[in-house]
């Protein structure tokens, strides 16, 4: 039976674009490598039309499916842990057009994030959301996760840049929201779909809003002798309504890892923390913003401040920041990338707590985060072959999340819930909150075939809490459920 419909999939997308058996191992997890699962097949449609036929076939056969972009997600959202079929957008690479009057771009979901800005540049435009993985991650994946990035401090996360989209739902029906007007005609379905982590369908095309390339960009680096001082500097800058485009902090372990890697950016080794601030816009407003940051850095006893002298140095500083996750591979073979949100007035307190929690468990913690948005990434370097270390890593991750939530923060700022944080949803929401999310899901995918067992816990929160440490069953060195 299975072989029959897999052959039908081959007929739809071509034999080379249906991957099965040992060839599918690369798709068994996403960036959250603690969780792996093997589906029946990976299918790579070329466009909306092929996606419709694929989805209709899977609906007829009752097969669960997992939408997947580049697999750079960090919470297990694209791992086929319930088997089924992974529907990837890797072949959907077309940029249909860029409209300089409307300042929009119409693209297929599999276009790589950074390719859009490259294509928009000749028109004096760019695409603002810039996840660290932007050289690999796809725009469809960005929509599914409502991805962020350093410059979302000024420009907002992905959802604010989606003008319209086309989606194929679980039944293989097209929802065409590629309208030419700025506001939705009825319900804001685009807003609902953005960040829904592949639970409502496969996004195949998107119309994005683009930004005008700024006249002036300035980047500064401020070096601190303590992480606390860097955090305090940011909290004060936020309170002063600083209009920067990005405000990032890297701590000592991260600086060292970056400087030891191919991403070496010239961050001062030995510094406890560096603050990276960029301002963009008109020359005068940029100057004023940078002056204010320098003033605040001095007040918080920065030991050095430096302005990027040219575009090349600026690019180097950002390459270091965006390569930080990869550079942590020098510290240990695996990296647990936490993603939590802290109230911006309590940055110092929560970063401090994360450091303590990791130290108490003898873990190597590197902090690199979107400080301006309060979006923390306490990253723990570990070796997944060490069962006890895996246990300590997950425990630390849970405690950091709980600390954030207790202090008015949130579970995830940009990576999504996926599998990793699904049971933690009960820390933030109650049964009624979650039941409404389930009702929305059931209205749109009554058979729950889209990305099953992700985002929403299936049991009542009391049962989830009594079940003990989340993820513990998945945390075996083999990473199997």
């Amino acid at each position: 039976m299975t072989e029959a419909w897999i052959n039908e999939l081959r007929n739809i997308v071509g034999p080379r674009n249906v991957i099965t058996g040992s060839d599918s191992l690369a798709w068994e997890s996403d960036g959250f490598s603690l969780v792996r699962g093997q589906g029946i097949a990976i299918v790579l449609p070329l466009d909306t039309s092929e996606t419709v036929r694929v989805m209709q076939l899977l609906a007829k056969e009752g097969v669960p499916l997992v939408p997947r972009g580049a697999g750079t997600g960090l919470t297990g959202g694209a791992s086929p842990v319930q088997g089924g079929v992974t529907v990837g957008t890797a072949r959907m690479r077309r940029i249909f057009g860029i409209d300089p009057i409307e300042r929009t771009a119409h693209v297929q979901a599999g276009v790589v994030n950074s390719d859009l800005s490259l294509a928009a540049k000749p028109h004096g435009l760019f695409y603002a959301p810039d996840p660290s993985s932007q050289a690999a991650c796809t725009l469809g994946g960005n929509v599914a996760n409502n991805s962020g990035g350093p410059h979302c401090f000024m420009h907002g996360a992905t959802t604010r840049h989606v003008r319209g989209l086309k989606l194929v739902d679980a039944q293989g029906e097209i929802l065409d929201l590629l309208t030419s007007h700025a506001d939705p005609a009825g319900l804001d379905l685009v807003g609902l779909i953005s960040g829904s982590e592949g639970m409502f369908g496969v996004v195949t095309e998107i119309n994005f809003r683009l930004e005008v390339l700024p006249e002036e960009i300035q980047t500064i680096i401020a070096v601190f002798s303590s992480l606390d001082a860097a955090c305090d500097c940011v909290s004060e800058a936020i309170a002063a309504h600083i209009e920067a485009s990005a405000i990032e902090i890297l701590d000592k372990l991260t600086i060292t890892a970056v400087e030891d890697s191919v991403f070496a950016a010239g961050y001062p080794r030995g510094a406890e923390a560096v603050l990276l601030v960029e301002a963009e816009g008109g020359a005068l407003e940029v100057q004023e913003t940078i002056d204010l940051v320098l003033q605040l850095a001095k007040k918080h006893e920065a030991i050095e401040t430096r302005r990027a002298s040219d575009g090349a140095e600026r690019a180097r500083l950002w390459a270091g920041r965006k390569g930080a996750f990869g550079a942590m591979g020098r510290v240990a073979p695996d990296l647990y990338v936490a993603d939590v949100v802290a109230p911006r007035t309590r940055l110092r307190e929560i970063v401090h707590l994360a450091v303590e929690i990791a130290a108490e468990r003898n873990l190597r913690l590197g902090n690199v985060f979107h400080a301006g948005d309060g979006n923390l990434h306490p990253n723990i370097a570990y070796d997944r072959r060490d069962e006890d270390e895996v246990r300590r890593v997950l425990e630390a991750g849970r405690l950091i999340m709980e600390a954030c939530i207790e202090r008015g923060g949130s579970l995830t700022g940009e990576h999504g819930v996926g599998l990793e944080k699904m049971t933690h949803m009960c820390d933030l929401f109650d049964d009624d909150d979650l039941s409404v999310m389930h009702r929305v899901r059931d209205a749109l995918d009554p058979k729950r075939r889209m990305n099953p067992t992700k985002v929403l816990p299936l049991r009542a929160c009391r049962e989830v809490r009594n079940a003990g440490l989340p993820l513990s069953p998945m945390a075996s060195p083999e990473g199997k459920l």
């Binding site: 506001d183 209009e243 940009e414 009624d432």
Partner: protein
Amino acid sequence: MSPAECALRLSQASGCALGETRGLTCLEPRDHAQLAAVLKEARQQSSPLLPIGSGSQLAWCRPDAFKTPGFTPIPISLIQLSGIIEQIPGEGTITAQAGTAWSDLISAVAPSGERLPADLPAAESSTLGGVLGSGRSGPDRMKYGPLRHHVLGMQVMLSDGTLAKSGGRQVKNVTGFDLHRLYTGSRGTLAIILEASLRLVAEPQREWSFSLPVADCAKGLVKALEVKQAMPRLTWLVLTRAESRVLLRGGLAGCASQVGADQEQVMAALGGSAEAFDLEATRQRRDATEAGSENLFAWDIQGSLRQCSTLLGDLEAQLPASTDLWVDCSAGRILVGVDGNEPVRVRPSWAESITEQAALVRPLRVSSDLHADHFPSDPSTWTTRLTQGLDPAGILSSSASSPDRQS
């Protein structure tokens, strides 16, 4: 039973007080328990409800415009549930109850050097819940984007009494589905908004604005696009046609020195005959915003900027010169007036030809015959599925699914 009798019956059964809003008898619950009791009674009596905030946007769907017996929804207002729940200086957010006046929010955030991310007309008579429910944005969306992008989280009550929240109070958060985006602009058809959190923006150091007389709206839009191209930092840009006079109006806001430099560029792009305002810039902005109040117009047309250029030419050719127009040059939105305050009873001939070009034509002052135009045909069945999923008894979504609409 008349709507007033229905309202009285619901009031007596639930203990909820009755009030009057813009000539309509209206249920005004004082707390969540009373709201839940009203909803319970409404379900038992199969009596549809229409959340109306303070009634400032009633023109889109006056309950007395429904003509089918038994489908007249009873207005319900959360005006009694007002007040700021949280505003921590330094966080850049505010959380308030749905009945809080928009103007009270403005006053609350001003001392910390912040402003709401939408400059709206009728701020005194608009409530937070009403503004979000009706999906409004201001002309300053050119700089800040539409208001719905700044809604961080909500608490709502569904028609079955379920109290539920989504999102949060943080400026960055992707936890769970963004149901608050779904409720924003849903006109109360999915749930009743109880409270909401918004992202704030910095109060600009300085504002500057201009006003340029132009021959007609079509030519004005061409000029607007030139100015927009020359100065990407414009905060707002609108065209107004009132008393047969057409003005292109816009402004800058932000860092004082930058505004000073940018205004020179704008004036150069305008070509010299514009009037500039410095001290009066804020008043000019407010005037232009108030001029775009939906209650002053009969039709709302939206299209791309390219479409707008053609649409304005067609409209000006077909409409009398006395018809007021208001155009948001960043959103491609055209508001069209009619003489008098009567509900729009007939879809005019120009609307037919424009529908073929534009994406969206909606009547703002509407008779029941035209209700269908308020709820454009669903591109799939998603809207129906969502309303049935969240409001299976049709208590809140009846105004979107009444026989009036289906006719």
